[in-house]
């Protein structure tokens, strides 16, 4: 087991920096998730760790070993490709055995370990099948077994779940997490799905345009986004520009003054409010530090919850998600209805404007 250390890693293609001065330390046994929008450099970073892309500058260490210049076949990483990349002309068992053969493992030991690896991903009955005879989820598990059987220093997963349907995706997600935990395997998973990231990661690394935007635990990233970008990317739909005023008040660009615990007088900031942290009220209740009159613009019934868009008097629009009452029928408020929107002074968070 080894940790992974990236030190000032930069990758240029032509003049554009695809990965820009990334420094990061992943502890042995930790499950890290690279999260970010398409094109932010997640795959490139992962491929630099695997050795398929050479960094322009910076260094990469696996444990104590500096692998910056090591060829990919000497790195002992286990890479799982998005398209699985199983060897089409080999059986499932031969696919899994490949890495052990490369390590000159004795025959009986290979047989033993392949069997154990297939058992671990519940595919022992499929050992003699060809990859094309397997479903997507099964192929995914073969790819996982093939990467795990070599006992890699680090397991690298590049959007391993994006080709699976929603139900299978959450099952596989839990399976990967369980395997990682039982093997105490240092793991890096790349995704642009924030729910996936929150569900499996010990630590999330949010990336944007080749840079690390924020590193933290799932709860930390979710509750305390540091920048507008992170807030936006983790599903904070309401990002309201404004300026701090004295006494824990914040003045929105639309002119409304709201109570906001972390406001600093005179500082430009963006109020980040999750839709599910605000409440819609038929009338002012006085239960929230902030209650503003508004009008419903759209109402979308989604079963467990309803999504609303409301407009303040100033024209500022807010998204708001409400849990539906059991047996309550359709959305509680209709478009055009006059309502109040309320949230506490700690429900929202101020983040730096861009």
């Amino acid at each position: 087991m080894a940790g992974v250390t990236l030190q000032n890693v930069t990758k240029h293609y032509g003049t554009s920096a695809v990965v820009n001065d990334v420094s990061l330390q992943i502890a042995p046994g930790e499950f890290a998730v690279f999260l970010g929008p398409s094109g932010c450099g997640k795959t490139t970073t992962l491929r630099m760790i695997a050795g398929f892309v050479a960094p322009t500058s910076g260094s990469i260490r696996l444990g104590a070993r500096d692998v910056t210049a090591a060829p990919p076949h000497r790195r002992n990483t286990g890479l799982v490709f998005q398209n699985y990349a199983l060897f089409p002309h080999m059986t499932v068992a031969a696919n899994v055995a490949f890495g052990l053969e490369m390590r000159n493992c004795p025959k009986p030991e290979i047989v033993e370990r392949v069997k154990a690896a297939l058992l671990r991903v519940r595919l022992e009955a499929f050992a003699e099948r060809m990859p094309r005879q397997l479903s997507g989820g099964q192929q995914q598990r073969v790819a996982l077994a093939r990467a795990l059987v070599i006992e890699p220093d680090v397991l690298l997963l590049d959007e391993p779940l994006s080709n699976l349907d929603t139900k299978l995706r959450s099952e596989m997600r839990e399976e990967i997490r369980a395997l990682q935990q039982s093997l105490k395997l240092t793991t890096i998973l790349v995704t642009h799905d924030q729910e996936e990231a929150l569900a499996v990661g010990d630590r999330l690394v949010v990336m944007n345009q080749g840079r690390i935007e924020q590193i933290g635990t799932p709860a930390n990233i979710f509750e305390m986004p540091r920048s507008r970008f992170v807030a936006d990317f983790t599903g904070v739909a309401n990002l309201l520009a404004g300026r701090g005023a004295s006494g824990g008040r914040f003045v929105l660009a639309g002119g409304e003054t709201v109570r906001q615990a972390d406001a600093v007088a005179g500082t430009e900031a963006v109020l980040a409010l999750r839709p599910e942290r605000a409440e819609l009220l038929a009338a002012a209740s006085g239960r929230h530090a902030n209650e503003l009159p508004a009008r419903v613009v759209t109402a979308t019934y989604l079963g467990t919850v309803s999504d609303y868009r409301v407009e303040l008097a100033s024209g500022t629009r807010l998204a708001c998600r409400q849990t539906n009452e059991p047996g309550g029928g359709a959305a509680r408020f209709a478009p055009g209805e006059a309502v109040w929107i309320g949230w506490s002074e700690t429900a929202a968070r101020l983040v730096a404007p861009e």
Binding site: P72, H73, F81, A85, F98, M102, A147, I150
Partner: protein, 271 residues
């Protein structure tokens, strides 16, 4: 799909396709048929059937040695063009380098130059080489083999490059990630994936070499003729079914080679 909705256009299309096919295949069928005629001179109708023309063809020193030389040349040309063509294909398929397009175009050039012109050019080239170095290649086996290899290489490179381009790059990376050196990854993963392309390249190279007449015309030496040239020589003075028997054997060999190539890879998709 065609069967579900028969259209007049579809029927016409099929009819014309079969007509063209019949037009192409009919002479071949007739030649094979004639090879079994008992008539001493090619002519209709057959007065009976016999195998004696095949025996006579084999008994003829010209045909037998021409046949053996052509087979040897075909095999050697296919083997050498594979040895040279595979590395070239890898370079073309895997690396983006300046001049890559030019090389691709150049490789196709022999298909545009009439064979007889190419043969003459080679002959002149050989003579120039001989003048410069004193080493003779015109008129001997080496010269012939070089010419036939040159015939086969464009096809080999084309087929192997196409096969390489269809190999998913990620399976090669997967092999390397699992500890295979680039060479081992090529042997264990790339090679099996392109094997059909290699088989097709060998078969097609053999056929191209085997049927060549024009390039060889200038390059054969005394007592060393290919089957095609033996056939041409014979035709100058004779018109008995021996020639049909030779042609029938040739058609069978080429047919088998092309069939093998087509089985290995949908040839029609690449040419």
């Amino acid at each position: 799909m065609e069967r579900q909705r028969p259209r007049i256009g579809g029927v016409l299309y099929r009819a014309s396709a079969y007509a063209v096919l019949a037009f192409v295949l009919a002479p071949l069928a007739v030649i094979v048929w004639v090879a079994f005629f008992a008539n001493p001179i090619i002519g209709f109708p057959p007065t009976g059937y016999t195998l004696r023309w095949f025996a006579r063809a084999w008994a003829s020193e010209d045909f037998r040695s021409g046949f053996l030389l052509s087979v040897q040349l075909g095999i050697a040309a296919a083997a050498i063009s594979l040895l040279l063509g595979v590395p070239a294909s890898i370079a073309i398929a895997r690396h983006d380098f300046p001049g890559r397009e030019a090389i691709n175009t150049l490789l196709m050039a022999p298909l545009v130059v009439p064979g007889i012109v190419g043969g003459a050019a080679l002959f002149i080239g050989y003579l120039a080489f001989e003048l410069a170095t004193g080493i003779q290649i015109a008129g001997n086996l080496a010269g012939l083999l070089i010419a036939h290899t040159l015939l086969a290489i464009p096809w080999t490179v084309r087929l192997v490059t196409a096969a390489l381009l269809r190999v998913d790059a990620s399976i090669i990376e997967a092999a390397v990630n699992l500890g295979a050196s680039p060479f081992v990854a090529f042997r264990r993963v790339t090679l099996p994936a392109i094997r059909p392309g290699l088989v097709a390249a060998v078969m097609l190279s053999f056929v191209i070499s085997f049927i060549d007449l024009e390039k060889s015309l200038f390059l054969v030496g005394p007592g060393r003729t290919t089957l095609q040239i033996a056939i041409m020589n014979y035709l100058e003075w004779n018109l008995d079914p021996t020639i049909a028997a030779v042609a029938a054997v040739q058609i069978a060999i080429i047919g088998l080679a092309l069939l093998a190539a087509d089985r290995a890879v949908g040839l029609t998709r690449i040419i």
